[in-house]
């Protein structure tokens, strides 16, 4: 494709280094500190990997990852990635459109949402053993969000297989939403006819809405979302203004008629 959202801002997007992308992560299964995932995720085995596809689909089942996605076309997309904590990165993902995967498994009439679930492997996940939050980590999208051409499943970064701390072997990437929506190390994809639960929304619904679209006008109760800092600029890196939908205005029509201060 035309690399989706990178088209209108191609010149301004300078990707972070692979080292930055691999060393500063939120992946609570491996600990709550930013360097915990890089330090602890190495023991997770991602090959073989199975993904269960169920719910309102034509071809439900538990698939070996390669059988599920091996024939899909992988492309590179350079996306802004905006964390709800008011920092950001620019990441050159390798992956395919989620729509391709959903079309392959066949979405049944009546499905309105897609639910996702992260692996829970206590033996290699110290954060799971400490129960820092309720696991498994779950997330969800409305079906039209999931089918949007910007929404992808990533399997690599910079042309290399994805590091475990980034969500290997397969993770969601929804560039216009806060990073926590882009669920990592996916083991289950469920097509459903109701709004699925989402981990941070369950933990604190006032602070994290189901939609969690990047929106500089709707503040997190504990901090402003008007600006953020791009990781990698060093000690004197200035903040920049956060853009509506993280600079992907083409998704705005998904939310026509909705009050985004209510459905945040």
């Amino acid at each position: 494709g035309a690399l989706g959202g990178t088209v209108h801002a191609q010149e301004t997007l300078e990707p972070n280094t692979l080292e930055e992308i691999r060393s500063y992560n939120n992946f609570y299964e491996f600990g709550t500190g930013k360097s915990d995932p890089a330090a602890n995720a190495g023991d997770m085995v991602t090959d073989p990997w199975e993904v269960t596809v169920d719910g309102l689909v034509d071809n439900p089942g538990t698939y070996a990852l390669q059988d599920l996605i091996g024939d899909l076309t992988v492309e590179e997309r350079i996306y802004r990635f905006r964390c709800v904590e008011a920092w950001a990165m620019v990441i050159p993902w390798n992956g395919f459109e989620l729509a391709d995967l959903l079309n392959k498994v066949g979405v049944k009439e009546g499905a309105t949402h897609v639910a996702f679930e992260t692996a829970v492997i206590p033996e290699v996940m110290p954060g799971v053993r400490r129960r820092v939050i309720d696991f498994p980590y779950v997330e969800g999208l409305r079906l039209d969000e999931a089918m949007h051409p910007l929404t992808m499943m990533a399997t690599g970064i910079y042309g290399e297989p994805m590091a475990n701390q980034n969500g290997a072997p397969m993770r969601l990437v929804v560039p216009w939403k806060y990073g926590f929506k882009s669920i990592k190390s996916i083991v289950r994809i469920t097509l459903t006819d109701e709004q699925p639960p989402a981990t941070w929304n369950i933990i604190n619904p006032r602070e994290y809405g189901f939609y969690s679209n990047v929106n500089p006008q709707v503040d997190h109760p504990r901090w402003s979302q008007a600006s953020h800092r791009v990781i990698g600029g060093g000690l004197f890196s200035a903040r920049e203004d956060t853009l509506m939908f993280n600079g992907y205005p083409e998704v705005a029509s998904l939310y026509d008629g909705m009050d985004l201060t209510v459905d945040y």
Binding site: Y24, K34, I203, R222, S224, G234, L235, A238, R239
Partner: protein
């Protein structure tokens, strides 16, 4: 107990307070150097800001522990308490300066809004403001001028300040983290110790 405490007391008598000042002031440029040269990770601003805040909290705790240590353990570190308190203020000041200049990039409007709208920032700012009069009166002249009783009374403010600092730390986190909760527990414990009479007063001290 005295076998351990006495040598420490003798040693402490010989150590001049400027050693404490130097020992705590030198790490500040060192941490900035580390942050500027990649030694604090790829997000050095946040790491540095947090490090300065944590050291400030640790200093407040050390300062609060000095009286109970003397009362209950016979350890006399009283001569360092003023230095510890002033250094805590310095670290809070650096922490705040990092927030204003490096973290918020001098976005005054956003900061002003945050100070009023975000309880954890409001609390942190109150704690900082409350430290100003304490730091400003941390000299012999002020003690003489105010009178020892009034001075001591005012400096009890450090208890709520430390507690507010720990609450500020807890509220920054996205989930209930152990570390900030431990800070608060220690501070509340030190407040509680004030109400426990010393061993001498109760006469239960073992003969040693």
């Amino acid at each position: 107990m005295t076998a351990i405490v006495d040598p420490i007391n003798r040693f402490a008598r010989k150590v001049p307070t400027w050693v404490v000042y130097i020992g705590y002031l030198l790490p500040i440029p060192f941490f900035f150097y580390l942050a500027a040269t990649g030694g604090m990770g790829v997000e050095p601003i946040n790491a540095l800001e947090r490090e300065m805040g944590e050291i400030a909290l640790q200093l407040l705790i050390i300062g609060l522990a000095i009286t109970p240590l003397r009362k209950h353990a016979g350890l006399n570190l009283l001569k360092f308490r003023r230095a510890i308190g002033v250094l805590a203020f310095v670290y809070v000041g650096v922490h705040l300066g990092i927030w204003v200049v490096l973290d918020m990039s001098l976005r005054w409007e956003q900061m002003w809004g945050d100070i009023w709208k975000r309880p954890y920032i409001t609390i942190g700012m109150i704690a900082f403001l409350a430290m100003i009069p304490l730091a400003a009166t941390s000299n012999n002249y002020s003690v003489r001028k105010m009178g020892a009783t009034a001075w001591r009374k005012m400096h009890k403010l450090v208890y709520p300040i430390a507690a507010l600092g720990a609450v500020h730390f807890i509220m920054v986190q996205k989930v209930w983290e152990a570390e900030p909760l431990i800070y608060l527990a220690v501070i509340l414990g030190l407040v509680g110790l004030r109400y426990i009479p010393s061993q001498k007063a109760t006469g239960v001290a073992s003969k040693g």
